[in-house]
């Protein structure tokens, strides 16, 4: 079944089975790549922030550019009020980016290609944003569902649509990332399988596709992390500055 393009998404246990009550929390390949991604982020940013030279070296420059990139993104989309949430959005962006990028290395596991992982991240953002909105504006936060300047006849319909769209945020956020990663990796695997099955004579066309797809997937990996972070910023903006 090695040729099955879906086997790359299989989760399997590494080491012994660990159970807490009825829950199985065994260490799996997914856990391994979460740890690898987090460790890589911490390593790079630790080295990048250690020395404070006036003329930064490459890793320091990388760390500082990422910092200013995310900081600018938050400032542009959610305003200066979002400053306390900078660390969370930065960690989120970096975690998703590194998980996506590690998935691009052959024989690795893509953590973000699992709906449960992206859904947990998205629902955490959803719950957090909702809580922040209610803390900042009280029940006034419900005004988010009542856009201004809508005719009174349409208002019930609009409110229902707004509520549905609000509730579907975590679903769309998680499915967007998960589906992009899964589709890209499946497609690469399929083209890789074509190279093998068509052999030395006909395999060149799918091989060239595969090469092009690798470039595209690296772009998608970055883009999806960026989209994930920027959508979080937009939701946060709704919660912080209530002007619908």
């Amino acid at each position: 079944m090695a040729a099955n393009p879906m086997t790359q998404f299989d989760v399997y246990r590494i080491g012994p089975e660990i159970k807490i009550g009825a829950f199985d929390i065994s260490f799996t390949n997914a856990s391994l790549f979460m740890i690898i991604s987090s460790a890589a982020i911490l390593l790079i940013f630790n080295i990048g922030s250690k020395k404070n030279s006036l003329l930064p070296n490459k890793i320091q420059l990388l760390a500082e550019l990422s910092y200013t990139f995310v900081s600018k993104m938050i400032n542009d989309t959610a305003g200066s009020k979002a400053k306390p949430y900078f660390a969370f959005i930065f960690s989120l962006f970096m975690f998703v980016l590194f998980c996506n990028m590690f998935g691009m290395i052959p024989y690795t596991f893509t953590v973000t290609s699992h709906i449960i992982v992206t859904f947990v991240l998205a629902s955490f953002i959803f719950i957090g944003v909702t809580v922040i909105g209610f803390i900042k504006h009280g029940f006034g936060y419900l005004k988010l569902f009542v856009p201004s300047g809508v005719p009174a006849v349409l208002l019930p319909l609009i409110v229902v649509i707004e509520i549905i769209s609000y509730l579907s945020r975590p679903v769309s956020l998680s499915v967007r990332l998960f589906a992009n990663m899964m589709a890209g990796h499946t497609m690469m695997k399929v083209f890789g399988g074509f190279v093998i099955s068509l052999g030395i004579i006909g395999g060149w066309l799918p091989l060239s596709f595969s090469v092009a797809l690798t470039g595209l997937e690296i772009l998608v990996a970055f883009l999806q992390a960026y989209v994930f972070a920027i959508l979080t910023c937009i939701y946060l903006n709704d919660a912080l500055n209530l002007h619908h």
């Binding site: 879906m6 246990r13 979460m34 991604s37 911490l42 910092y67 660390a87 991240l121």
Partner: protein, 196 residues
């Protein structure tokens, strides 16, 4: 054969993703809930640690680094600006000194020239005066000579004529009568001999 059909269905799935999503749900490891709890647990653990370490340790350091660099650059720019202003003011001072000294040199030169001209004029005047004096003296002498000349000539004429007469005749002749004749002659012919 089965494998081939499977491949084809996956391949066409990219054109009709939704249909395949439903059709392949059985084959998607993502929808197998066996390790969901494990993934949630490890996700919260790793992401939590990542968030805490980044927010408490690393991000403040990076922001600190950026701030300190910014302030250092600003300080350097300020210092450079100050030094530039200093050098400009010094340049102005220097130019002032130069123009002042040029003016002074001009003044000194003019003064020296005036003094020299004055000296020359003075000396020339003195010399002119001396020369004039000498000329006047000489002219007066000449005039005196000229005035005395007829009288002397008359005297010589009288003496010589009286001696001549004595030698010729051998007797003394009254000198007053001779002088009267000479005077008479000189008055008659004086203009002929003495010009003016």
């Amino acid at each position: 054969m089965i494998q081939k059909i499977y491949f084809q269905s996956i391949f066409f799935s990219f054109l009709f993703f939704k249909e395949v999503f439903a059709a392949e749900s059985g084959g998607m490891p993502q929808l197998n809930p066996e390790f969901w709890v494990s993934q949630i647990f490890w996700l919260i653990l790793t992401f939590g640690i990542l968030y805490i370490v980044l927010s408490k340790l690393i991000l403040p350091k990076i922001s600190n680094n950026l701030e300190s660099r910014k302030s250092q650059i600003l300080e350097n720019i300020e210092a450079a600006e100050k030094q530039r202003e200093d050098s400009e003011s010094k340049l102005k001072e220097y130019e002032k000194i130069i123009s002042k000294s040029k003016l002074e040199a001009k003044n000194i030169f003019n003064q020296a020239r005036e003094k020299a001209l004055k000296d020359i004029n003075n000396k020339r005047e003195i010399l002119d005066k001396q020369i004039d004096d000498e000329i006047n003296k000489a002219e007066q002498e000449i005039l005196a000579f000229r005035k005395n000349a007829p009288e002397k000539i008359n005297k010589i004429a009288i003496e010589t004529s009286s001696e001549l007469i004595q030698k010729l005749i051998g007797t003394d002749v009254n000198s007053s009568s001779i002088s009267a004749i000479v005077d008479d002659l000189s008055r008659k012919n004086g203009d002929k001999y003495y010009g003016n």
